[in-house]
Each structure stands twice: as C-alpha cells, then as structure tokens.
C-alpha cells in the first residue's frame, strides 16, 4: 500500500534548500488512502479505550500491564506494521507506521514503551541482524511476546555516544561475545527480554549486539522522572553477559552506522508522535476554553485565549505538514526496494530533514502543552487535570533521540557534508547567491500572483538567507565550521523555518487545488500567519549570525541583501488568529 502517487519523484536529500517544489511533489495528510485513515482509527480507538484509562496503573510501574498492552497492540498489527511478512509483520509502508506513531503519541508514556518496542528496539535487528537473528527475534517482538529495548547511552556518554565504555570480546572458542559495562536511561529496561546493546570490541571497535536477558544482565531501579512516568527507564548492568556471534548486528566496528541510522527513523517517528500529542492537547484546550466561564463568558471568547488556541493550531498543522512531507520523501525513495540496506540508505539520504522534523515538532509540542497549562490556569497546575501531565511528559522530547542542540548542529552539518561529497549542489547555489547579493537589485517589481504566492516568495527567500549564512560560514570557518555551534544553531533555525514554511505552503496549495477555494480558506490563514512570523524569526537569526561572522562593508552588503530577502508587508495576524481560533471554538475541537 502506498499513497504516494506513482509520478512523485525521488528528491535528493537536502535539495529542498536549493530547489523549488510544487504541490504535486509533496505528500500531505490529505493524500492518505482509505486504509491509512482506517489504521489511524483503529490505533486511536485502541489507545483511547485501552491505554489512556490505564495510565495511572502504568505510572505505578505495573509492567505486567505494560506487557499486556504491548501484546494487545501487537495483535492489532501496530508493532509489526513495518516488518516484512516473512518475519511475522505486515510489510506496510512508512506512512502507516508514522500514522500509528502519531496516534500512539496520544499517550506519552505508552508511546515511549512502544517506541522502544517497535522502533529503536526492533529496527536494528530488522536492518542489521543476521538471517538467524531476524527469524528468531522479529516475529516475537512483532507479536509482543518479547519486549525489546535499546541500550546506547552510558553515564559518561550521552550525546557523545561513540565514547561508550562498554566492552565486548569474542570468546576463546569464537562462538559468542562476552559483554561488560553499564548503560543508562534504558526505556523498557525494567522488563525487557531482549536488548540491542552497543559496546566496543577490543576496546575500540564500536559495535551493536542483540542480547537476551540472562544472569549477569541486571537492571537498576526505576528512575524518578519528570514525566512519562508510566514507562520504564532504568540503568542496565552487563557483567560477563554472553551472546552468540550470530547476534552481532552488522559488522564489528560498524556500530555507529547502526546507532545513527536507527535514530534517523526514530526522529521522524518522534515527530509524528509529538504531532499526535499536540492534537490531543489542543483538543482538550479548546473544550476547556469553551467550558470555563469567567466574567460571565466562556474564556474562549476572549482574544487572549483565541490567540493562544490559534498559535497552537498553527504549529500543529504546520508541524504535521513537515512530518508527512518528510515521510513522503522517504516513502518515494524506498518504495521500489525490499532490500533493507537500500531502504536504510534511502532514509539516510534525508537525515537532515529527519533532524529538522525532530527539533521542530518536539519544540512545537512543548509550546502547545505550555499554552495548554496557561489556558487551564490554576487547573493547569493541578495534577487532577490533563495539562499538568501533558506538560511534564512533553519535555523529554527535546532531549531523547538526540537533543535539540545535537540535532540543530546536525542539520547544517549534514547538508554541508552532502555538499562536500558532491551529493548536493549547495556550494554552487551559495556562490550564485553571493553574486546575486553583490548585484545592485534583483527584485522583480511584479505583483505576486496565485494562491499563497507572496508566502512562497518569502519561503524561497528564506532559503536564500539560509544559503547566505551557510555560505558565509563555510568561507570563514572552512574545516572549523563544526566548532561554531552558535552559528550552526542559528543556521539550523533559519533552515527549519524555511522548510516549515514551504511544507505548509505546498500543503495548503495542494488542498486548494484539490478541494477548492472554500475548503482551503481556513488553511490559508494558518500559512499566512506562520510565514509572516517566520520571516521575522529568520531575519533576527540571520542578523545574529551574520554580525558574528562579518563586519564593515561586507556585513552592510549582507544586511542590505537580508532586508531585500525578508521584505514583507505585515499582515493583520490578529484578525487571522481570531478566525483560526473561531473555527475550533465553534466546532469545539481541533478541526484542522
């Protein structure tokens, strides 16, 4: 099953930054098939009826219940959706698994348990396991018979994952590896049966292994966490733990490839999960704002609350456009192959986009739950209402699967790496732009025509701003660019806003083309407000980064170009936000 139209072409990873796309080039939630919608319904029904009411029990660490819920979800096919049929799965597309992730995101704790089971715990085996290992473990993990976990981080190596100290050595008879070491923050650590563990062979060859729970493998006590309290997180101690050689993942010394590739997948799925959480938080917020009366009126009738609801909807809808556009790219690139390695290479192609999605969605999600608390007021601070938990639960998303900071640095980092290796024509584009910047004026005086033409111009200009910053940074720092974290993070934010704008514009244009003017109106408001605000952020980020790199005439020339690129007549965002909020207030739910 694939909703991606046959004519949809494979795009080069990162090329969004230097090329223009048309609505038909992007995949949107409006392109879901009937089956996709049914998968969403089934997952939502399961989560709402079976899991959400039982979160209090999970928060008391009832891991037998967690096991039972994983098994029930597995019976529906939620875990094995992505696993090929020969290994006990359903062999469905990436979009289906993202839709499942989104719906499971309605319960943060279970989403974490589930993400370790069906994502980072399972995928290394699927993509890097030997045939024996795949046959042995994948059916049992897909069915929920075995609980899986992923053990990469150590006390001393978090973001710097390759500095792990855990060791593995081949036994004298060459039949198995013996692992020693300690791992930290292991999701499902308290009850998992099988672990994907990273350790160094001969002290320096970072490698991945499948390890079953056994004597010598013990977990620490449950961590006392800020949120996702209904998921198990423990340390893990490996003391002369044995695993047969066929449980080696990939090759000795190639563990980094596994760890980072799996995180790419984890990242776009995390984006989808955040999106599901945001939709629920917004839905609850709209209902509460309609119910809660102050000064004789529902608080939803006040502009201060409307502005919040509208901004929450904007971030949710734009974030969704980013998630599914990215998945669409991956889908198109992987649809013609069943070879796991080829699939993985295709996904790796979009590593920058996956990081963008991870950073943007986790931060949008944190914004949404923060405003949710605010809308609930005093009740938002009470654990008897849903906002408090949503707020605590959301925070981890900015930390795990690569922190926001690591991912921000990865975005320009990976784009530059692709540029250096000739896979992405970033540098010629940057050079061309530099020439353009130096020419007196290149602005056409034509009025923008067509749906969201003004916003599209802003998005294309935003990319030019990104290229200007990246180009300047590359020239100035050359090989030392990777040390310039503030510049990289600023560039990442510009790139992310550009990707967000363009994804949202293309989604709305596609909606306009397929569903007509009337149906599209409410989405045009969203895109216009988002673009209007994004341009301001982009300008501020560009000023900061450029002023840190250039001075004198060079800086003046760059700032003049920046002014041209970010030239925008401010729109009436107040009225637009009221319209956006009113649609939800009237229907008493998140309607976008």
């Amino acid at each position: 099953m694939s909703a991606v139209a046959e004519e949809q072409k494979i795009v080069t990873g990162g090329s969004f930054l230097i090329e223009e796309s048309t609505p038909k080039d992007v995949f949107t939630p409006e392109d879901f098939t009937e089956e996709h919608h049914m998968i969403a319904d089934t997952t939502r029904q399961f989560i709402d009826a079976e899991v959400r009411p039982r979160i209090p029990e999970l928060e008391k660490h009832d891991w037998n219940l967690a096991r039972e819920l994983v098994r029930k979800g597995a019976e529906l096919g939620l875990i094995g959706a992505n696993v090929p049929e020969e290994y006990g799965g359903l062999g469905l597309d990436q979009t289906s698994s993202a839709i499942i992730a989104e719906m499971i995101g309605r319960t943060a704790s279970f989403a974490t348990t589930f993400g370790a089971q069906g994502g980072i715990g399972l995928l290394p085996i699927l993509y890097f396991g030997t045939e024996e290992a795949k046959k042995k473990y994948l059916p049992k993990i897909s069915s929920g018979e075995m609980i899986a976990a992923y053990a990469l981080t150590e006390a001393g190596s978090g973001s710097d994952a390759l500095a792990a100290k855990a060791t593995a050595r081949l036994s004298a008879d060459g039949t198995h590896y013996i692992l020693n070491g300690e791992k930290m923050w292991i999701t499902n650590g308290g009850f998992a049966d099988v672990f994907v563990v990273f350790a160094k062979v001969d002290g320096d060859k970072f490698s991945g292994f499948i390890v079953e729970r056994q004597e010598g493998l013990t977990n620490g006590a449950e961590e006392h966490k800020m949120g996702i309290k209904g998921s198990s997180t423990t340390a893990l101690v490996l003391s002369d733990v044995k695993t047969p050689v066929e449980n080696l993942l990939g090759e000795v010394g190639k563990g980094a490839k596994i760890a980072f590739n799996i995180l790419n997948i984890g990242r776009f799925k995390l984006g989808a999960m955040c999106n599901g959480g945001m939709k629920l938080a917004l839905h609850d917020s709209v209902r509460y704002a309609n119910e809660r009366h102050q000064f004789g009126k529902p608080i939803s009738s006040f502009g201060a609350i409307k502005a919040k609801l509208a901004e929450m909807a904007i971030k949710t809808w734009v974030g969704e456009a980013m998630v599914y556009r990215t998945i669409g790219m991956i889908e198109t690139a992987t649809r013609d192959t069943s070879d796991p390695q080829a699939k993985l290479r295709a996904i790796e192609e979009y590593a920058a986009e996956c990081s963008i999605v991870k950073v943007a969605l986790s931060e949008y999600c944190n914004f949404v739950v923060d405003e949710m608390v605010q809308i609930y007021g005093g009740y938002g601070y009470s654990a008897d209402y849903p906002a408090e938990k949503a707020y605590r639960d959301a925070r981890i998303n900015r930390i795990f699967e690569g922190t926001s900071e690591i991912n921000r640095m990865l975005v320009p980092g990976m784009l530059m790496k692709r540029a250096m290796s000739g896979k992405l024509a970033l540098l010629p584009a940057a050079q061309k732009l530099m020439d353009e910047v130096l020419s007196p004026s290149m602005l056409s005086l034509d009025e923008d025509e067509g749906v969201l033409a003004n916003e599209m111009r802003l998005a294309q200009n935003a990319k030019k701003v990104a290229l200007m910053v990246l180009g300047t940074a590359a020239q100035k720092y050359m090989m030392e660019l990777s040390d310039q974290q503030e510049i990289l993070m600023g560039a990442a934010d510009i790139i992310t806003d550009a990707y967000a704008m363009e994804s949202a514009i293309l989604r709305a244009q596609k909606l306009h083309a397929t569903k007509g003017e009337q149906a599209a109106t409410r989405y045009l408001d969203i895109v216009q407000v988002f673009s209007n605000d994004a341009v301001e952020r982009i300008e501020a980020n560009a000023k900061n980064t450029l002023a840190a790199m250039s001075e004198g005439d060079e800086l003046r020339t760059q700032l003049a170009a920046l002014r041209r690129f970010t030239k925008n007549t401010p729109m009436n965002t107040v009225a637009a936000r009221q319209r956006i909020a009113d649609v939800m207030i009237k229907s008493n739910k998140y309607t976008y």
Partner: protein, 257 residues
C-alpha cells in the same frame, strides 16, 4: 450460517449539531459520521456466531457514497462481503421506505439470520428492522441481548423493562434487533484493514421503489427543545390543598415520584 447485518451511518456523537435552513434535518456540511452504535453490536454478534458455527457475514448499508466508510470498517472487522444500496436521498427516508428498499436488496441472499441494531441514533424510529422482517416474511425479536443459534430453533434473550429478561424460541430464518453494549466490539486489525481492500462490495440501486413512493411519513419541522418557564400557584392559598395538588402533579405530569 448466512447472516446479513444492516448497518447505518449516522452523525458523529461528538458533532455539534445545527439545524438546516429548511428546518427539516441537521446541517450536514462539515459533519463527520460514524456507525450507528447498536449496529456495531449487531455486527459483532454476527461475527461471533460465524466464528462458532461457520458461514458468511454480509454487511448491508444504504445511503450516499460516504456510507462506504461504514462498509469498509465492517469488512475490516471481519465481514466477508457487502451490499451497498446507493442513493443520496436514502439517508433521509422513513422506516417503511427504508425497509422496502432493503428487503428488495437482500431478499435474493436467502439468509438464515438478519441482524440490525435496535434503533438508529439519529431518527430513532426503531421500526425499520421490524417492518423489514414483515416484508421478508420472517419472525423477529427486538432488543436482543443474547443469541443461541446452535440448535434447530433459535433461542434469543430479550431485554424487558425493569431488569426483566425473556428467553424466546423462534424458527429460522429470523430477524433480530440487537441491543447496544452486549459485548466487547473487536477492533479492525491492520491485517483486516488490508484484507478488506479485496472484499466484494456489490452496489445496488433501488429499482422502482422511489424513496418517497414508500414513505408513509415525513419530517416537517425539527427544532431544539424550547426552554420555557411557567409558574403555577397551587392550592389557592390553602397549603394543604396545594400540597395534594403538588403531589399529584409530580406524579402525573413531572413523573418524578
């Protein structure tokens, strides 16, 4: 055993309802739909009977293209094939007209059982099933909460009032209207969803029986309950007489004692 399940699509329970301009029905623009609740239980009962006794479950729904989602959902949950009686107006016809058209659509199937929900969540007539049984020449039982189809005769448990139940034995074929909440409805599994793609949905267009031809009733006006306040003085100054009148009114008008 061949079982036909009649399923209706109704407005979503969570939907905020508005009355249409003509004041004849709810405004349908922007409305989302779901399966009629008790019809879902009828399907579940049919699937359980099939699991026990073998056979085939055929789901039948009537209305515009949008009802396909109810059909697809039923197929994903395990129904074997479907009949879709197509027509934009069919969502708004009276029970007699509906039963007439449905009878036409399913009588060729020669089923052993016809199951349906006890009433629709929108119009709430609770008559379509009963009239259909008559048109098909079958016995029927309403508000059924348990079905035993293992013997020669059909045994069904009906819900009566005030916590009373009734076991009822009847010949087959028969039509049963099923009560909500009698079982745990299964989910559509992902496997079921994918399998549903390949299942047959036969489209039928009602022949001569134009919807209005068979309608013995029509909705002339709908409106939200009007809130009115009326004050009555009882007893005319005599407290005792007032109390007697109050007790009488509470019993016969307000019906709360």
């Amino acid at each position: 055993m061949k079982i036909i399940v009649l399923m209706k699509q109704v407005a979503n329970k969570d939907a905020i309802l508005r009355i249409n301009k003509a004041a004849t029905w709810i405004e349908e623009a922007d409305l989302t739909y779901e399966v009629n609740e008790s019809d879902g239980y009828a399907l579940e009962e049919a699937l359980r009977l099939k699991e026990k006794l073998g056979g085939e479950v055929i789901v039948c729904s009537m209305g515009p293209t949008r009802v396909k989602s109810v059909i697809k959902d039923a197929l994903a949950r395990g129904a074997d094939r479907a009949i879709h009686v197509v027509g934009d107006e069919l969502a708004h016809i009276g029970p007699f007209a509906a039963a007439t058209i449905l009878a036409e659509a399913i009588k060729g199937e020669q089923s052993d059982l016809v199951l349906t929900g006890l009433q629709s969540d929108d119009y709430g007539f609770a008559q379509t099933g009963v009239i259909l049984a008559e048109l098909l020449g079958m016995p029927h039982a309403t508000i059924v909460i348990e079905v035993d189809a293992s013997g020669e005769q059909l045994r069904v448990k009906r819900e009566l009032e005030n916590g009373w139940y009734q076991w009822y034995t009847m010949p087959r074929p028969a039509l049963l209207t099923i009560q909500s909440g009698i079982s745990q409805i299964r989910y559509a599994t992902l496997k079921g969803i994918m399998a549903a793609k390949k299942k047959e949905i036969r489209e039928v267009t009602p022949a001569s029986a134009a919807p209005n031809g068979g309608s013995h009733q029509r909705v002339t006006k709908i409106y939200f309950p009007e809130k009115t306040k009326q004050t009555q003085f009882l007893g005319n100054g005599d407290a005792k007489a007032g109390a007697v009148q109050l007790a009488e009114k509470l019993r016969s008008e307000a019906r709360i004692i």
